[in-house]
């Protein structure tokens, strides 16, 4: 008994890194366990140009773009140039190591998704210095179903977020060059990653503005950060693109490649008759976008219809808390500024939120650019970061926090994309949606 008490009090168990690592391991195991679902029926060569109908290629959602592109890249052809290549190189690496099958396609993306949880926990710890709050933040994110689904597919988002969070962690620790390198890798993974860079630089500019009395001295202190982080990130991205362009003979210079990406992404506009889930529907619990089936297999056994494999794009309880977190961050910032302090944590959340979510409002409403609910994946970490902080303190709010966490975890398992038969039977027994 005494020894058990000692273990409980030991530094080992107080080590947030250990807890985060355990959480990451659990999520990683869960992810690995579902990788083979769906498994392709068609051969890789049949699934490069014209894909056979009926999901025979085993692709989930936009994997139908990226995996064929990677297969072309493996043949030495430049493909899918509208997106930066790093995430695709990770998919390629998986294929080279584990073969051209779902394990190969998804393993490194899955790993990126799991590592993001660890990084978010560390970021939370940087701000709150609380093991409990940091771990709860990581839990919220780890059990965010949509994030889990998206980071289990061979898509670009999970590596982009992982590098972005790594960049943010270095940024908070004022390790500018390292932050620039990580953010450059994020930008080399997905075109939306520059928003993270802008958010972080804005955050730092606000901090400097608070420290300095006039604009000139504020800018003077901020410029080295811009140079060390922004320019290094840009350099990493350009070098990466140059390597790709040179190897595949895609573009004469990486700048021309950038031009193509910008052109392509600004041409993705919708018209009046198109059905678009506008950004507010991503976070509004009362007026949500409908559940989007990324990949669903339906079966009927003994008159019971259910979906043993169902990857959905959908809101989670954490997403419903978005505006609460934002309102809290705004109010708390106001109070902190009134006291003469600098609201580091709150402004970090607000800057990230503004440039990774609010930015899509003008894009969608003014520029009519296509937007998709899965873009919210880049914002989910800061909601997970803010929510525990709001509800820490008195017992009632903590009870609400734990209730929300339970709801988040329950939601996760209820809509877990690949369910074992015993779990399906149980859900059917209790008349839960399957």
């Amino acid at each position: 008994m005494h020894r058990l008490k000692n273990i409980c009090k030991s530094d080992l168990l107080r080590n947030i890194r250990l807890w985060l690592a355990i959480l990451v391991l659990i999520i990683f195991i869960l992810k690995i366990s579902i990788i083979p679902y769906p498994w392709p029926e068609a051969s890789p060569s049949e699934c490069i140009n014209l894909l056979p109908e009926g999901g025979k290629c085993g692709f989930i959602f936009d994997e139908a773009h990226y995996i064929p592109a990677v297969r072309k890249m493996l043949r030495g052809e430049a493909a899918n140039n509208e997106h930066p290549p790093l995430s695709k190189f990770l998919i390629m690496l998986g294929i080279l190591v584990f073969g051209d099958n779902p394990y190969g396609w998804r393993i490194f993306i899955t790993l990126s998704g799991a590592v993001s949880i660890y990084l978010l926990g560390l970021i939370a710890h940087e701000f709150t210095k609380s093991n409990k709050l940091s771990f709860i933040s990581a839990l919220f994110f780890a059990f965010d179903l949509h994030s889990f689904n998206l980071s289990s597919m061979a898509m670009l988002d999970a590596p982009a977020l992982m590098f972005a969070l790594l960049g943010a962690l270095f940024f908070i620790r004022k390790r500018w060059i390292a932050s620039g390198v990580a953010l450059g890798l994020a930008m080399l993974s997905k075109t939306s990653a520059p928003f993270v860079l802008i958010a972080l630089l804005t955050y730092d500019l606000l901090e400097k503005a608070h420290e300095e009395s006039d604009l000139r001295s504020c800018l003077k202190k901020w410029m080295p950060v811009l140079e060390k982080v922004g320019f290094v990130a840009a350099a990493v991205m350009l070098i990466g693109l140059a390597v790709y362009d040179y190897n595949y003979g895609a573009y004469a210079t990486p700048f021309e490649h950038l031009d193509y990406m910008l052109d392509y992404h600004s041409s993705l506009t919708f018209s009046e008759e198109d059905l678009v889930y506008m950004p507010l529907t991503w976070t509004n619990p009362l007026y949500q976008f409908p559940r989007i089936p990324y990949f669903v297999i339906s079966v009927e056994v003994d008159g019971e219809k259910y979906n043993p494999v169902a990857y959905y794009g959908m809101q989670t309880p954490l997403w419903w808390m978005t505006w609460l977190v934002v309102a809290f961050a705004l109010y708390s910032s106001y109070l902190r500024l009134k006291e003469g302090g600098f609201p580091r944590f709150e402004l970090f959340i607000l800057c990230w939120f503004s440039f990774n979510y609010l930015v899509y409002f003008p894009f969608a409403h003014l520029l009519h650019r296509w937007v998709y609910p899965f873009y919210f994946y880049m914002t989910v970490p800061v909601i997970a970061l803010g929510l525990p902080k709001i509800l820490e303190g008195d017992r009632i709010s903590e009870a609400v926090l734990y209730a929300l966490l339970i709801a988040q975890v329950a939601w996760f398992f209820l809509y877990f994309p690949v369910k074992p038969q015993w779990f399906i039977d149980f859900l059917l027994l209790v008349h839960a949606p399957v």
């Binding site: 000139r216 800018l219 210079t253 700048f255 052109d263």
Partner: protein, 364 residues
């Protein structure tokens, strides 16, 4: 021994004459100039006032000078009257630079080199409005230094009516005005006069802003070094974004620098503009030559800059497609960009070492 100003004037006069002659339209193989090309525009032959009845892509004073010159009936007389305008401003420039150099005790030989013997002066003085702009700007700075702020602001405004680029210099000049009230007054006068003239023209012709200013956004890359990064003309919209970013960054760096005096800062700001803008026509080098004379520096890079800058126009009409990457003028433009960058670094380092007492305090 101080160089006699008569020598400078004589050299300047000969340079100008040379410039006048090599561009003269009656010369069988004259060197191209924008001035002569204006003559063949319909509004000149029809005697229509620019901005009101016809479009002209230069600011109002430039159009006015062109219009007045075009009142002459023949191309030769038009060219000569235009050249006379340029000559007057050129002489004013020489005189003002001599005075500033005397105050700063910088060698007069440099005025001779930069403002009389430079190939750019010979090739591009009787060419476009750049010498007028340079003259008005330097005069404005000179008056500012002499604490005649009101006159300086008026001339600043007039300079902007020749070249819009002048407006980017306003924040840099305002840095040297101590009180907020004086700052506001300087800004109000310099922007007010410019704004009033432009507003009046806009009221008369609602297309004026489009035709005169926004027109330039349609231009592609012209002699910008970063054509090497954007060789395909289809990518030039992104090149312009790149240019805008570099410009903002460069100007911010100049703004935040502590140890520069007014002329150094003006030189740096204009050089940054030239280096980062997507259009860097060779005559624009005239903007920085007087400032180099004032700064009293003869950077090594100057010689290469002049070589490349002269090379652009001298090979322009020999190249079938001179604006495309891979043409000889564009190689000269890239070389010029590299050299100008080195010059900026050189001047920056020099200003750090030499101008120890030239902090903002001197002006305040």
């Amino acid at each position: 021994m101080k160089l006699d100003r008569k020598i400078i004037y004589s050299a300047a006069f000969i340079s100008f004459l040379f410039s006048y002659l090599i561009h003269h339209p009656l010369l069988r193989k004259h060197v191209y100039s924008d001035i002569v090309s204006f003559w063949f525009r319909p509004f000149i032959t029809l005697h229509e006032p620019p901005y009101i009845q016809a479009s002209f892509e230069y600011p109002p004073l430039a159009g006015f000078i062109t219009y007045v010159s075009a009142l002459m009936k023949t191309l030769t007389s038009y060219y000569t009257v235009f050249s006379l305008f340029l000559f007057v401003f050129y002489i004013i420039l020489i005189e003002v630079v001599i005075r500033i150099s005397s105050n700063r005790q910088t060698p007069r030989e440099l005025i001779l080199i930069f403002l009389a013997l430079s190939p750019s002066i010979i090739l591009y003085t009787v060419y476009n409005f750049d010498i007028i702009f340079a003259s008005l700007l330097i005069l404005s700075l000179y008056l500012f230094e002499r604490k005649r702020h009101f006159l300086s602001a008026i001339l600043f405004s007039v300079a902007a009516m020749v070249k819009l680029v002048n407006l980017i210099l306003l924040p840099f000049i305002l840095m040297y005005v101590r009180e907020w009230r004086s700052r506001a007054l300087y800004a109000a006068v310099s922007l007010g006069l410019f704004g009033a003239v432009n507003l009046a023209l806009w009221a008369i012709n609602p297309k004026f802003i489009d035709q005169t200013y926004l027109y330039h956004f349609q231009w592609g890359l012209e002699n910008a070094w970063f054509i090497a990064l954007f060789p395909n003309p289809d990518s030039w919209n992104t090149a312009k974004l790149f240019s805008a970013f570099l410009l903002c960054y460069g100007l911010l760096k100049v703004y935040l620098c502590d140890f520069m005096d007014l002329y150094q800062r003006t030189f740096m700001a204009l050089s940054v503009f030239l280096l980062t803008n997507y259009v860097f026509t060779p005559q624009m080098v005239l903007w920085i030559l007087p400032l180099l004379a004032i700064l009293g520096a003869l950077p090594y890079s100057y010689f290469a800059l002049e070589f490349a800058n002269a090379g652009i126009i001298l090979t322009w009409f020999e190249s079938p497609n001179p604006t495309r990457f891979g043409s000889i003028p564009q190689y000269f433009a890239i070389l010029r960009g590299i050299v100008l960058f080195l010059m900026i670094i050189e001047i920056y380092q020099n200003s750090k070492e030499v101008v120890k007492d030239a902090s903002l305090e001197k002006y305040l």
